[in-house]
C-alpha cells in the first residue's frame, strides 16, 4: 500500500485554483523528484500536504498511510511522520536551535507515550547529527534560523529531519542556494536517512541534486497538473530541453 496516495487533488489559495487535479502515489523506499517551472504549484502541494492555513483542498483527497490528511491538525501530521523542509525557513529569534529541536522531539515522544529525553541524551545525539552535516556546535545555540546564511538554513532543515526521522520527507527546494560542498553534504544526509520503510519527495529546479540522489521517479508539474512522469533520465532530458515542450493542457 502507498505511503502517500494523492488522487485528483484540487487546491486553492485565496480562492485561486493552483493545483488542478493532481495524482501521485509514493511507496515506502522510494524517492520521487518533482520538477517544474516557477509558480507551477510545487510549494502549494507540499504546503497543502503539511496543512498550512489558507491552502484549501477543494476536491480529491490525500491519504497518508490510509488516513485522510484533512482530518489531522498540522502537528498531528508531523506526529504521524510527515515532514516538510521549507523552501523559505522562517526565523524564531531567541529560541535556540537546540531548545526548538528538543521541544519538537519531546512532542513526538509524548504522543508515543515515551518519556522526555534528558538534556544530556538529547544533546549527544544532536551533536552527532550536526557533525554529520558539518555544522559547527555553536550553531545549536543560536536562535532558530536567526542570521543563518541561506546554506545554513537549508542544512538546518535537514538536521531537523534527521532528528525527527519521519516516514515521509517533503523537501522543498532544499538544494537551492547551496554551494557545491554544501550540496554534497545535504545529499549525503538525505541518502543516509533513506531506508526501505521511509520515502522522500524532492522538489527541485535542478538536475544537479539528482546527480547525488538517484530518484526512482521524476514528475513534471506544470500549471497544477503532472504533465509527465518518468525515471531519472527524464530529469536529464529536462536539463537539455527545458519545460517548453511539455504542455500543461
Amino acid at each position: 500500500m502507498s505511503l502517500l496516495d494523492i488522487s485528483r487533488l484540487v487546491v486553492s489559495v485565496d480562492d485561486k485554483e493552483i493545483l488542478k487535479g493532481l495524482d501521485l502515489q509514493v511507496n515506502p523506499g522510494e524517492v520521487h523528484a518533482i520538477m517544474g517551472p516557477n509558480g507551477s504549484g510545487k510549494s502549494t502541494l507540499t504546503n497543502a500536504l503539511a496543512g498550512r492555513d489558507g491552502y484549501t483542498i477543494k476536491h480529491g483527497q490525500a491519504l497518508f498511510d490510509s488516513t485522510d490528511l484533512t482530518e489531522l491538525e498540522p502537528e498531528e501530521r508531523s506526529h504521524a511522520g510527515l515532514f516538510l523542509a521549507f523552501q523559505y525557513p522562517v526565523e524564531i529569534p531567541g529560541v535556540t536551535n537546540m531548545e526548538f529541536l528538543k521541544t519538537s522531539v519531546d512532542s513526538h515522544r509524548e504522543i508515543k507515550g515515551l518519556q522526555e529525553l534528558t538534556a544530556v541524551e538529547f544533546m549527544r545525539n544532536l551533536r552527532n547529527l550536526a557533525k554529520r552535516l558539518e555544522l559547527n556546535p555553536d550553531f545549536l545555540k543560536r536562535g532558530v534560523n536567526e542570521s543563518f546564511s541561506g546554506g545554513e538554513k537549508k542544512r538546518n532543515e535537514i538536521l531537523q529531519m534527521l532528528c525527527l526521522n519521519p516516514r515521509l520527507a517533503l523537501l522543498d527546494e532544499t538544494d537551492s542556494g547551496l554551494d557545491i560542498d554544501a550540496l554534497q553534504i545535504v545529499a549525503k544526509g538525505i541518502n543516509e536517512f533513506r531506508t526501505s520503510t521511509n520515502a522522500v519527495v524532492l522538489v527541485t529546479h535542478y538536475q544537479r541534486l539528482l546527480n547525488y540522489i538517484t530518484p526512482d521517479f521524476v514528475h513534471v508539474l506544470i500549471e497544477g497538473r503532472i504533465a509527465k512522469s518518468g525515471d531519472a533520465t527524464l530529469a536529464l532530458e529536462l536539463e537539455t530541453k527545458g519545460y517548453g515542450w511539455l504542455n500543461g493542457s
Binding site: A48, A50, G51, R52, D53, G54, Y55, T56, I57, K58, H59, Q61, L69, T70, E73, P74, E75, R77, S78, H79, F83, L84, F86, P89, V90, E91, I92, P93, G94, V95, T96, E99, F100, T103, S104, S107, H108, I111, G143, V144, Q160, L164
Partner: protein, 490 residues
C-alpha cells in the same frame, strides 16, 4: 473540505489562575475608610514611636490634598478610597517561631510553593547542590508572618526582617533612609502608602558583605476589600552585594483590589543591589471582571561612587499595572539597569517602564523592555532618560521591543529623553513584531502544539530579560508566561 484547522481560543484551555484560592482564617480588619484616626490606629497596632506616627500623619495630610494621576495609558472607574480597608491581619499575636504560625497559613504558602521551613529548604539543598537556599519574608495581607534563615543572615551581619520590626530594632537606619528616595509627597499613591503602609521588608547589608543567599519576600493579599500597602527598604552599605526577589499573588475575586507599594533601594559606594520581581497578582477574568490594581512606586538611589542597581521585572498579573522602577544615578561611575517583561492578556492594561536620572559623572544606564500583548489587552512602555547638567559622559542604551499576539491587542511606546549635555550618548532602538503565522506553522509542522509554540516563541522574545533572573525565578517566570498565554492563540 478544508485544511483550515487552527483552533479558536475557546477550543483551547482557558487560562487558569492557580494561585486564586482563598485562605479561610480569622482576621482583624479595620473598617473601611481613611482618616487621621485610621492612620493613628494603624500606627498604634504596630506600637510605633511618635516620630513615625507623625510621619504618617504628615503623609496623610499631603495625600488629602493630592489628585489621582490620570496621565497613564490605562482606563479604570474612579476608586472609592473610603470603601477600602487599610489594615487586615490574621488574628492573634505575631508568632515568635514557625511552630506558632497558624497551620492554615503554612498550608497557604506550601500551596504557593514558598518554602517557610528552613529544614525543608535545607533538605532541598542536599538533594540539589546547585540550588542555594533562599531566605523568605512572608507577608500575608498587612503583616509579615515569618522570616526564615534569620540566624544564618545575622552571622553575616545582614538584617532581613519586616519593616515594623526594623522600626524597633534599627530605628536610626529606618529614620535616616525611609522616604529619602521616594519622598512622602512624591506622587498620589506613594503618599497614600506613606500614610497607611502596614508591613513590608527591611534589608541592611553591612560594608563589604556579600549576602550569602537570595532574599525573597512573598506578598499575599487574602482578605476581601482590603488594599495592600507594603513598603520595602533595602540598604546596601559600601562594597556590599545583595540579590533580592519579590513574588506576589492574590485570590480570584470579582471586585478590584488596590495594591500601592513603595520600594526604596539605596546603594552606597561600590555596592550592588539586584532586585527581581515576578508579579503574578490576580489579573481579573476573561471578561475583565475583578483583578488587582497594581500602582507601585519603586526607585533606587545609586548614592555611592560606582554603585550599581539593577531592576528585573516580569509582570504577568494585575488588572492594571502602573509602575516605573527607576534609578537615580548620583554617584560618579554608577550604573542603573532595567530589564522588563510585561505580558498582558484578555482585558489587562499595563503602563510600565523606567526612569533613569543621570546626575553623577560617567554614569551609565541600560534599559531592555519586552512588552507582549495578547487578547484585547493594552501594553505601554513609558521611559524617561534624563541627563542632568553635571552628568559628564553619561550614557544610556534603550531597547524596547513589542510582540503582538492576535489583532485586537495594542502596544504603545512613549520614550522621553531630556538631555542637558552635549556629550551624552543616548541610544534608542524599538521594534514591534507579531508572532507570525509562518513561525507558528513551522512549530506545528515539527509537532509542537500551538499553545506550546506561542509560549516558546514568547520565551525566546524574553530571553535577554530572563537571563538576568536567578535560576529558580527564571523557571517560574517562563512557566508563568505559559499559563498566562493560555487561550491567547487563534
Amino acid at each position: 473540505m478544508t485544511t483550515d484547522t487552527t483552533p479558536t481560543p475557546k477550543d483551547l484551555v482557558q487560562r487558569e489562575y492557580e494561585a486564586g484560592f482563598v485562605t479561610d482564617i480569622d482576621s482583624v480588619t479595620l473598617p473601611p475608610g481613611l482618616s487621621e484616626s485610621i492612620v493613628r490606629r494603624i500606627s498604634a497596632i504596630n506600637s510605633e514611636p511618635d516620630w513615625l506616627t507623625e510621619w504618617r500623619l504628615d503623609a496623610f495630610r499631603r495625600w488629602s490634598a493630592m489628585k489621582e494621576p490620570r496621565w497613564a495609558h490605562v482606563k479604570f472607574p474612579p476608586i472609592d478610597y473610603q470603601a477600602i480597608s487599610y489594615f487586615s491581619a490574621p488574628k492573634g499575636d505575631k508568632p515568635k517561631s514557625l511552630d506558632e504560625v497558624d497551620p492554615e497559613l503554612l498550608r497557604t504558602y506550601e500551596k504557593l510553593g514558598i518554602p517557610l521551613h528552613e529544614q525543608k529548604a535545607l533538605a532541598g539543598v542536599e538533594e540539589d547542590p546547585e540550588q542555594s537556599p533562599v531566605a523568605v519574608d512572608a507577608v500575608f495581607d498587612s503583616v509579615s508572618i515569618t522570616t526564615t534563615f534569620k540566624g544564618t543572615l545575622r552571622e553575616h551581619g545582614v538584617v532581613f526582617c519586616s519593616i515594623s520590626e526594623a522600626v524597633r530594632t534599627h530605628p536610626e537606619l529606618v529614620k535616616k533612609y525611609m522616604g529619602s528616595v521616594v519622598p512622602k509627597s512624591d506622587n498620589f499613591y506613594a503618599a497614600l502608602n506613606s500614610a497607611v503602609f502596614s508591613d513590608g521588608t527591611f534589608v541592611y547589608v553591612p560594608e563589604g558583605v556579600r549576602c550569602p543567599m537570595e532574599l525573597l519576600t512573598y506578598f499575599r493579599i487574602n482578605a476581601a476589600n482590603t488594599g495592600q500597602f507594603e513598603r520595602t527598604l533595602i540598604i546596601a552599605d559600601k562594597g556590599s552585594y545583595v540579590s533580592y526577589l519579590e513574588g506576589c499573588t492574590a485570590p480570584m475575586r470579582d471586585e478590584n483590589q488596590l495594591h500601592a507599594a513603595v520600594v526604596e533601594l539605596i546603594a552606597l559606594d561600590d555596592a550592588k543591589i539586584k532586585y527581581s520581581t515576578v508579579q503574578n497578582w490576580y489579573p481579573g477574568d476573561e471578561s475583565g471582571e475583578g483583578g488587582i490594581y497594581n500602582f507601585v512606586t519603586k526607585r533606587g538611589s545609586c548614592r555611592g561612587a560606582r554603585s550599581h542597581i539593577s531592576w528585573t521585572q516580569v509582570e504577568t498579573g494585575s488588572a492594571i499595572t502602573w509602575k516605573y522602577p527607576s534609578v537615580l544615578l548620583r554617584g560618579d561611575g554608577s550604573k542603573g539597569e532595567f530589564y522588563s517583561v510585561a505580558l498582558t492578556n484578555n482585558f489587562q492594561q499595563a503602563d510600565t517602564g523606567t526612569k533613569m536620572t543621570h546626575i553623577g559623572r560617567n554614569t551609565t544606564s541600560t534599559i531592555v523592555s519586552k512588552g507582549i500583548s495578547a487578547g484585547q489587552s493594552s501594553n505601554a512602555y513609558r521611559g524617561l532618560v534624563r541627563m542632568n547638567p553635571g552628568a559628564k559622559n553619561a550614557r544610556n542604551h534603550t531597547q524596547c521591543d513589542s510582540l503582538l499576539i492576535g489583532s485586537k491587542c495594542a502596544a504603545h511606546t512613549f520614550p522621553y529623553i531630556e538631555s542637558r549635555r552635549q556629550d551624552a550618548v543616548v541610544e534608542h532602538e524599538a521594534t514591534t513584531t507579531k508572532v507570525s503565522d509562518d513561525q507558528l506553522f513551522l512549530c506545528r509542522q515539527r509537532g509542537i502544539a500551538p499553545e506550546k509554540a506561542v509560549s516558546m516563541i514568547v520565551n525566546g522574545f524574553c530571553r535577554e530579560v530572563f537571563r538576568e533572573l536567578p535560576m529558580e525565578f527564571a523557571v517560574e517566570a517562563s512557566k508563568l508566561l505559559e499559563v498566562s498565554l493560555e487561550g491567547a492563540v487563534g
